[in-house]
């Protein structure tokens, strides 16, 4: 795990983003669904302890790219990935790699909150349990508490940990899913439009949370909301029709993008 102190992160931010080391490197990544090609030779690197936002109109391939990062595309029939993606130094498409272990290192939060039909406690303890990250009851209690705290949910649910996770509100469910992902102590957390099913208040809470999580995790977030990308991310990558159009510091991206298409999309001329 790469945990940087908060001060270090702030320091890194003060410097230019492009001095932060890469956590994941994607080189010539192409994805095919059957005969249809969804991504065209994307070269995109993810920086450590940074929030990278993937933006672009619907069907541009941003979610597809996100799902290549922990090989969730494997669960889709007929899906084929070419190119190379590394996590630290490991090629994650190497046949010898353990996909299950990879997904423990690269966690995922989905568009729709998907808590398991279990108690809040068991939802969070699910990952640690299958990966053997905790042994005793006390260990589990601690993991559950710290994870829920990191997800900013602890104070709301600490008195009802045994109630079903599906009974929470939408925003709480999504933060529970984030706590569930955090509990496995991943290095990277992928978020696929995590706020699209939430109301503005719940969205604000999740965004705040993403901001805090950056100290400990590398985050990649797909979003349809330009404002959200501007608010939560330090780097932004713009996709269009399966191509990576531009990748840059978020500030620059939203003030003075290099590519005309980015400019148009941000100004709301298409998408």
């Amino acid at each position: 795990m790469n945990i940087m102190s908060e001060a270090a992160v702030e320091k890194a931010l003060d410097q230019k983003m492009n001095t932060v080391p890469f956590k994941m490197i994607g080189k010539d990544v192409s994805v095919y669904y059957g005969e249809k090609r969804a991504l065209f030779d994307v070269n995109l690197n993810i920086r450590e302890n940074t929030v990278t936002a993937l933006i672009g109109p619907s069907g541009c391939g941003k979610s597809t790219f996100l799902r290549t990062l922990n090989r969730m595309n494997d669960t889709i029939e007929n899906c084929r990935v070419t190119g190379k993606i590394t996590l630290d130094e490991d090629d994650i498409y190497d046949p010898t790699i353990d996909v299950v272990e990879l997904r423990a290192r690269v966690g995922m939060v989905f568009q729709k909150p998907n808590p398991f039909p279990k108690s809040i406690y068991d939802n969070v303890a699910y990952g640690p349990r299958i990966h053997g990250l905790a042994r005793t009851k006390a260990d589990f209690d601690e993991v559950v508490e710290t994870s829920l705290q990191k997800a900013g949910l602890w104070n709301e649910v600490k008195d009802r940990l045994q109630e079903p996770g599906t009974g929470l509100s939408g925003g709480q469910q999504q933060r529970l899913c984030i706590a569930r992902a955090v509990a496995v102590s991943p290095e990277v957390i992928l978020m696929d439009e995590p706020c699209s099913a939430l109301d503005p208040i719940a969205t604000a809470k999740v965004e705040e949370l993403i901001h805090e999580l950056r100290t400990n995790f590398t985050i990649v977030i797909v979003t349809h909301s330009m404002q959200q990308a501007a608010r939560v991310s330090q780097r932004t990558a713009m996709f269009h029709l399966g191509n990576l159009v531009e990748e840059n510091d978020t500030d620059k991206m939203f003030t003075n993008p290099d590519d005309q298409r980015t400019q148009d999309y941000i100004m709301g001329r298409f998408g």
């Binding site: 969730m72 029939e77 990952g127 299958i130 899913c177």
Partner: protein, 494 residues
């Protein structure tokens, strides 16, 4: 005119009415269809419905009511000597009169006269014309039969005339209604709604009727045998119904049959549940779409095999196999080649019934497992769980209520199964716990009690209804509970 010809005529009138109604609406539209409230086809249908439906209803009622009236009138025409002998004699005489009436139509006038005067023998004359008569026959029957024939002929004419008149009147009435703004479309809709309601009430009323008749027959049984003896008796020995004896000479203990039923169903479920469930998990979670598209229908073919086929599979293959292998095993263990599994036994029936149930378990569970939202699978896989961990810890717990419901539905099938048990477990009603010995079930005994010449007044046959209603209550309970669980489970994801 025969009934089928009459029916055909009504249909022809309906057709004519359809085209007449259509033509009239077209004429009124004056070449512009948008003038009409409803399309010409609806006007046609409306007229056709008015032409056919009332006529058909009258025809149906007539066909039911007329024979009752004619029988009553004929019965009254029988001489007092017969009337005084009681209903059985009257019924017998009525039957003979009807046969005579059928025969008379084939005789010439002279022959009839000879019969009436008693000069010729009724039975032999009719026999010569190919009409068999149960008794010797008496001269009065000829008169009554003639009365019967006259009434039947008049009835037929009346019916034909009435039905045709109603058909034509209905058609004309409807045609006069047709106008550009007439809402034929809504009228047709109402008739369609009505017919749908009739169809569903037939289904429901049939069920109610069956239950009611079973209840009343079972009630008659319980007047002869006390319910306590039936529900708690441990000996099943109904004996045979001695004609006319009427009394309860046998013992009607339900317990051995119910034990057998539940025992065999239990063994079957023990066999079917793990195999069916694992097959379902494989099909739903692991199999590639190509394999699934061929393997799943193949598995479901098992469900289409008639149970009697499973029955002789049990009788010819499984039973002898178990018997022989048990003899071998016994021989290896003790040196005594005596089989300890009977060819007909609880295990034989259980295994074969289990095979029959596999497709039910797997198909129902498969549907339920695939209903678990994909988001839950992704969530678990995204946390780094393997597929089997996902199945064990997320999918099965989520699908459990539904699967339990499916298993209960399957169990109610196992409880109601008959043919496999007859052939695989025998008909001996015994109460014991050794699964290697024959036992029998409620359904088998129902078949047993209802085959052969029957007299529906003795407890020996009426017990079948008591058994039937018991079984019905059990399976109904299982089904209702299963549906309740399945429905509750469905709501979780809505």
């Amino acid at each position: 005119m025969s009934t089928s010809l009459l029916l055909l005529l009504i249909i022809v009138i309906g057709f004519i009415a359809y085209f007449a109604g259509r033509a009239r609406s077209l004429a009124q539209a004056g070449g512009k269809l948008s003038n009409l409230h409803s399309l010409p086809g609806y006007h046609g249908s409306y007229v056709a419905i008015w032409a056919m439906l009332p006529a058909a209803l009258v025809l149906g009622t007539w066909l039911i009511a007329a024979p009752i009236y004619i029988d009553g009138s004929t019965r009254a025409a029988l001489p007092d000597t017969v009337q005084s002998q009681g209903t059985a004699a009257v019924q017998l005489a009525l039957g003979q009169v009807k046969s005579v009436a059928g025969g008379l139509l084939r005789l010439s006038g002279e022959e009839v006269a000879a019969l009436q005067s008693g000069a010729a023998n009724l039975r032999s004359t009719l026999a010569a014309k190919g009409v068999a008569l149960a008794g010797e026959g008496e001269p009065y029957m000829v008169t009554v039969a003639q009365h019967f024939n006259a009434m039947a002929a008049a009835n037929r004419w009346l019916m034909t005339a009435a039905v045709l008149l109603i058909a034509i009147a209905g058609g004309i009435y409807a045609i006069r209604n047709i106008a550009t703004r007439f809402r034929a479309r809504n009228q047709v809709e109402r008739v369609i709604l009505g017919s749908l309601i009739v169809a569903s009430s037939i289904a429901i009323l049939t069920t109610v009727g069956i239950v009611a008749s079973m209840l009343s027959e079972a009630g008659r049984f319980f007047t002869m045998v006390s319910p306590f003896e039936f529900f708690f008796g441990t000996v099943w020995d109904p004996r045979f119904a001695a004609a006319g004896s009427g009394g309860a000479s046998g013992q009607f203990g339900l317990v051995p049959l119910l034990t057998g039923t539940l025992y065999i169903a239990f063994v079957a479920m023990l066999f079917a549940v793990p195999i069916g469930l694992f097959a379902a998990i494989y099909m739903a979670e692991y199999a590639s779409p190509r394999l699934r598209s061929t393997a799943k229908p193949l598995l479901e073919v098992l469900a289409g095999i008639p149970t009697i086929v499973y029955g002789f599979f049990a009788l010819v293959t499984v039973g002898p196999f178990l018997r022989d292998i048990s003899a071998q095993l016994n021989g290896l263990a003790t040196g005594n080649y005596q089989n300890f599994i009977q060819a007909q036994s609880v295990v034989t029936a259980g295994i074969v019934m289990g095979i029959m149930l596999i497709p039910f378990v797997s198909s129902l569970s498969d549907d339920i497992i695939t209903q678990v939202p994909r988001a839950l699978r992704d969530g678990s896989l995204g946390l780094g769980a393997t597929r089997s961990e996902t199945v064990k810890k997320v999918i099965l717990p989520a699908a459990l209520p539904g699967i339990v419901g499916a298993l209960l539905l399957t169990a109610s099938r196992a409880v109601g199964e008959t043919m496999i048990v007859v052939l695989a477990a025998g008909v001996a009603a015994r109460m014991q716990i050794n699964p290697f010995e024959p036992m029998t079930t409620v359904t088998v005994k129902i078949v047993n009690q209802l085959t052969g010449d029957l007299e529906f007044t003795s407890p020996q046959t009426l017990v079948a209804f008591a058994l039937g209603i018991t079984l019905f209550v059990i399976t109904l309970g299982l089904n209702i509970y299963a549906l309740y669980i399945v429905r509750k489970y469905r709501e979780q994801y809505e």
